[in-house]
C-alpha cells in the first residue's frame, strides 16, 4: 500500500480532485437509473395509451415548455463558463456566472410553477376532480407528468441552492484557488439535470402537436 500523505501537495490535490470527480460520476449514474425508471414507466404507458397520451400532451403549454428548455440550456452555458473561470482563478467572473446560473434556474422554476398553477386551475391534476376524461390514459399521462417534472424540479432546486452557495463562497474569499473541484462537481450535477430535461421536453410537450 502506498501512503498518499507522503505525496507532494500538488499531487495530493490532484488525487483529491479525481476522487471527487469519480464520486460525482458514480452518483450521476445512480441518478440516471432513478430517472430511467420513470422514463420506462412513461414508455410502457405511452405504448398502452397512445391516443390518451397524444390528447393529454396537447393540454401542456408548448410555448412555455420550449422557453423553459431554452432557459435551462442557457444556464448550462453560464455554468460551463463559470467552471472554466474557476480553473484560471478569475474569482469575480466565476461568482457572477454562478449567480447567473442560479438565477436562470429560478426563472425555470418560476415558469414551471406558473404552468403547474394553470394546469391545476384547468383540472388537469390527477384525482377526483380530473376533468379531461374523454380519452383513456390522459390521467395516467398527467400522473407521470407531475411525478417526472416534480422530481426534476426538486433536483433543480437542490442545484440552485448548491450553485448559490458556491457563488457566495467564491465571492467571500480564495475558494476558487483552493478547491475548484467542488465547482467542477456542482457543474457536472447541473449539466446532468439539464440532460434529464432535454429528454422530458419532447416526451411531455411534443407527443402530438401536428
Amino acid at each position: 500500500m502506498s501512503d498518499t500523505t507522503t505525496l507532494p501537495a500538488p499531487a495530493q490535490r490532484e488525487l483529491r480532485r479525481t476522487t471527487m470527480e469519480f464520486g460525482m460520476w458514480v452518483f450521476l449514474t445512480t441518478e440516471t437509473l432513478f430517472f430511467g425508471v420513470l422514463f420506462f414507466a412513461y414508455l410502457i404507458m405511452r405504448l398502452r395509451y397512445a391516443d390518451g397520451f397524444a390528447a393529454a400532451s396537447r393540454h401542456t403549454n408548448m410555448l412555455l415548455g420550449t422557453l423553459n428548455t431554452a432557459v435551462l440550456l442557457t444556464s448550462s452555458v453560464t455554468m460551463a463558463i463559470a467552471v472554466d473561470a474557476a480553473k484560471i482563478g478569475r474569482a469575480r467572473l466565476c461568482a457572477m456566472l454562478l449567480s447567473s446560473t442560479a438565477v436562470l434556474g429560478i426563472v425555470f422554476l418560476a415558469i414551471k410553477g406558473y404552468e403547474y398553477h394553470a394546469e391545476y386551475v384547468q383540472h388537469l391534476f390527477p384525482g377526483n376532480g380530473f376533468e379531461a376524461v374523454s380519452v383513456a390514459g390522459m390521467q395516467t399521462f398527467f400522473w407521470l407528468y407531475f411525478v417526472m417534472t416534480g422530481f426534476h424540479a426538486l433536483h433543480l432546486l437542490i442545484g440552485v441552492a448548491l450553485v448559490a452557495l458556491m457563488a457566495a463562497r467564491v465571492r467571500s474569499g480564495a475558494f476558487v484557488a483552493q478547491s475548484p473541484a467542488s465547482i467542477d462537481n456542482a457543474g457536472l450535477y447541473w449539466h446532468f439535470v439539464d440532460i434529464v430535461w432535454i429528454f422530458m421536453y419532447p416526451a411531455l410537450y411534443l407527443v402530438a402537436r401536428s
Binding site: 479525481t18 469519480f22 460520476w25 437509473l33 410502457i44 398502452r48 484560471i88 478569475r90 421536453y201 419532447p202
Partner: protein, 91 residues
Amino acid sequence: MKSLDLRTPAWTWIALMILLALTAGSALLPLGMFNAISNFAIAVVKSSLVLVFFMHVLRGGAVIRLVAAAGILWLAFLFALSLVDFLARGY
C-alpha cells in the same frame, strides 16, 4: 489575467438552440412515426453536446468514461429486459 475560451461554449449554445428550434418545429409537422423518432434523436444529440462540451466526458480519463458508459449500458439493460417482459405479455 488569463483569458477564457468563450468560443466552445458559444458554439455549443448556438448548436443547442438550433436543435431546440428543429425539434419544436418538426413536432408541428405531420410526420407520423418520424415525429417521435426525430424528437428522440435530437434529444440524444443535444445530450451528447452537453456531455462532451460541458461535462468533458471524453477528457475525464478512462475511469470517468467507463462510469459514464456503465450508466448508459445499465439503463439499456433496464429498458431491454423490462420491455421484453412487457411485450411478451402482449402489452
